[in-house]
């Protein structure tokens, strides 16, 4: 990151290679649109490049800083086009070698995508950081610019809503 602050393009390319997937993944979990997620990932790294000098490793890790940029972009954006239908959005290929496991994993992803649609963007962000990215409560709270107590409350509500939505989908095939 110090090399990026020194405007070294090569270091910036390496940084993007390491973290672009992460940025797009989190953005997609929140905005639920692959195209918008790609745009957010790009915009996030343009901001990393232009604001590299303001990054302070004593205050936060780079990933926490990146998550915060991605979350801000995802929360502040205005959707440009209607979201793709949930069934299409959930139709994600898996690399699992076993066909049965792949079918189960795809089905679980479809249920999760549908269930997440009923959550607010901030709740989806909390789920993405804590469960998908595996951040600790403290790091996730820092990335979301919240106190740990506020993050705990947000995560608890997100998990409760998600559990309820999953249950509804498994029982009836639909969320609402």
């Amino acid at each position: 990151m110090a090399a990026v602050s020194a405007r070294q393009h090569h270091a910036f390319r390496i940084l993007m290679g390491r973290h672009m997937q992460r940025a797009i993944r989190v953005a997609q979990r929140i905005v639920r649109d692959p195209g918008e997620a790609d745009d957010i990932g790009q915009e996030a790294f343009l901001r990393v490049w232009s604001h590299a000098a303001s990054f302070d490793p004593d205050i936060a890790r780079f990933t926490t800083w990146l998550y915060r940029i991605v979350l801000n972009l995802a929360f502040d954006r205005k959707p440009r086009r209607p979201l793709v239908p949930i069934d299409e959005a959930a139709g994600v290929r898996s690399d699992d070698p076993e066909p049965v496991e792949r079918v189960i994993a795809d089905e679980q992803r479809r249920i999760l995508e549908q269930a997440l649609a009923g959550l607010s963007e901030r709740q989806r962000g909390a789920i993405a950081l804590f469960h998908m990215e595996g951040l600790s409560g403290v790091d996730a709270a820092q990335a979301m610019n919240l106190s740990v107590k506020a993050f705990e409350s947000l995560l608890g509500r997100a998990r409760a809503a998600l559990k309820e939505n999953v249950q509804k989908i498994q029982d009836t095939g639909r969320c609402a």
């Binding site: 393009h9 390319r13 993007m16 290679g17 672009m20 997937q21 797009i24 993944r25 997609q28 979990r29 692959p34 997620a37 790609d38 990932g41 790009q42 790294f45 343009l46 490049w49 994600v92 290929r93 898996s94 690399d95 994993a105 679980q108 992803r109 249920i111 999760l112 789920i127 804590f130 469960h131 998908m132 595996g134 600790s136 409560g137 740990v148 705990e152 995560l155 608890g156 998990r159 409760a160 998600l162 559990k163 999953v166």
Partner: protein
């Protein structure tokens, strides 16, 4: 720690006690040995596995996004800044002409004497006379 507190923590932080707030972990581990607490953890762990499923973002897609970033950075570098276009020699010609004209005007204003003409009646008559000559016979 009561079982209800244990349940609330598990429903908030999931089935992995290592990820709970540090202050509650020891008491929670003691309680997790019990059958009911164990069932709570198992249920939350099942949800954790579901919640941690991530959308697939392959390397090719991320690479294309990274390439797009580099292209946008190159576009910004190529595009001349507004002050650079203003400071081109061709753009400076009209501005410098205006500045020179203003400077000459200022210099003349300072160098030439400025005097009010006399405002008496004779001067007014003289002025009218002069102007009638100009309009009647033209400048001589």
């Amino acid at each position: 720690m009561t079982l209800e507190q244990f349940r609330q923590l598990a429903e908030t932080w999931g089935g992995d006690i290592d990820r709970w707030p540090a202050a509650s972990q020891d008491a929670a581990r003691d309680m997790a040995a019990g059958e009911r607490a164990g069932r709570i953890l198992d249920e939350q762990l099942r949800l954790d596995r579901l919640f941690s499923l991530a959308p697939k973002v392959d390397e090719g897609r991320a690479g294309r996004a990274g390439f797009a970033v580099l292209q946008r950075m190159a576009d910004v570098d190529r595009k001349p800044r507004w002050f650079r276009s203003v400071l081109r020699p061709s753009s400076l010609l009209p501005a410098s002409s205006l500045v020179c004209s203003a400077l000459v005007g200022l210099w003349l204003a300072g160098a030439l004497p400025y005097r009010h003409g006399p405002a008496d009646a004779l001067s007014v008559v003289s002025m009218v006379f002069d102007s009638s000559i100009i309009f009647a016979g033209g400048l001589q």
